[in-house]
Amino acid sequence: MGYLRLKQPVALPPPDDDKRWKIIDVTMRRNGYSGHALIETLHKVQDCFGFLDDVALRYVARSLRLPLSKVYGVATFYHLFTLKPQGEHTCVICTGTACYIKGANDLVDGVHERYHAKPGQTTGDHKLSVLSARCLGACGLAPAAVVDGKMLGKQAADALLAEIEKAIE
């Protein structure tokens, strides 16, 4: 289970000379290159690169000495991880119960109509990724959405579209 390590782990050479691999190495080293740091490491890779590609998954698997299929299984189990590059801008629509009751579906439909992207999809020009969240915990502000990290409460479809427009411009 990766708890007891027999051999002293060593850092592997990174796949290329991108500086960001150093940051990922730091995370793995802090956890003693043990297998249970997999999720922490994947979080770090996604923070640095925006998504998890094959190169990164292979590097993490080899560094933490985990089977490839296991790393892939974990990366696809958790919904926060994405294996595809994201658009330049993101719009997260909360579909929690409070937002659902107050009309989150209108927001989803409105964005879909304007940008032809449903939650989980990215527009063809890679400008915008639309995501849904299971609950942002901002139920007092339902329906809520987050555009490029900025939380927007009590949204109507028009207002949200205007915000997205502003972000993309």
Partner: protein, 247 residues
């Protein structure tokens, strides 16, 4: 992965307990599961994901039994026996549940026996017969899955997979390669090799065929078999585990 069963060798002092299974008085070691105790006494409990020699997974829920005093059903494969336990393995309610679970499995993917290479040698099929599941009431989901024939010797047909993870466990626990794992979650789960790449391109697969032999359905098969020709040889597994335990 799931926990390994407690090895008898590691537990020197094991008490023997008595319990009742379906009204029969039975003696069993306290580290045994209900399933083991029942099997040793000729009481058959249907199983699907369970396989002797592999860790317990407890996912197919076919082996659920009623234990007196417990409001919840227990899986016989993962529950240890206890002194004075009263177990019912085959009530009308349990039979109904098992039939429904089988129906859900049949409807989940594509299990058309007549064209399947495992027809007549399939555990899902024989279980359906044994449990009296003669028709499926829930609608078929009819999702199309890929068939991967890239491996030189074997083929995987995801349409026949019931996600019992026997292949994953045997590859990890017995062969030690961990070529297989499960990706995604929920209804979208699927078994994969390496980074979800074609089996033939897998760098970790040793081609040992253990996964094929333990697969209960026609999902993992030898190439070149026609309908009804694929007979699995799973008998190696208890032998292998025992030999390893003795080493």
């Amino acid at each position: 992965m799931a926990r390994h069963p407690a090895t008898p060798a590691a537990a020197p002092k094991v008490r023997v307990v008595t319990l009742k299974i379906d009204g029969h008085d039975i003696g069993a070691r306290e580290d045994e599961t209900i399933l083991n105790a029942a099997n040793d006494n000729g009481i058959r409990i249907p199983t699907l994901c369970y396989l002797e020699g592999l860790s317990e997974w407890g996912a197919c829920r076919m082996c659920v039994v009623e234990v007196a005093g417990s409001p919840k059903l227990m899986t016989a494969c993962s529950t240890r026996v206890a002194e004075g336990m009263e177990v019912t393995t085959n009530s009308d309610r349990l039979q109904r549940y098992r039939r429904t679970i089988l129906e859900l499995l049949f409807a989940e993917r594509n299990h058309i026996c007549s064209v399947c290479v495992s027809n007549g040698h399939c555990e899902l099929q024989s279980l359906a017969r044994a449990c009296g599941m003669d028709h499926v009431r829930v609608p078929y989901r009819n999702a199309a899955y890929a068939v991967d024939s890239s491996h030189d010797l074997f083929r995987i047909d995801q349409n026949r997979c019931i996600l019992c993870t026997r292949c994953v466990r045997v590859c990890d626990e017995i062969e030690g390669a961990h070529t297989w794992d499960v990706m995604g979650r929920g209804v979208d789960s699927q078994v994969i090799t390496d980074l979800n790449q074609p089996w033939g391109q897998s760098t970790s697969c040793t081609g040992c065929s253990k996964c094929v032999q333990v697969c209960p359905t026609g999902a993992l098969v030898k190439k070149g078999t026609a309908a009804g020709e694929m007979e699995k040889q799973g008998g190696f597994l208890p032998y292998l585990t025992e030999m390893r335990g003795n080493r």
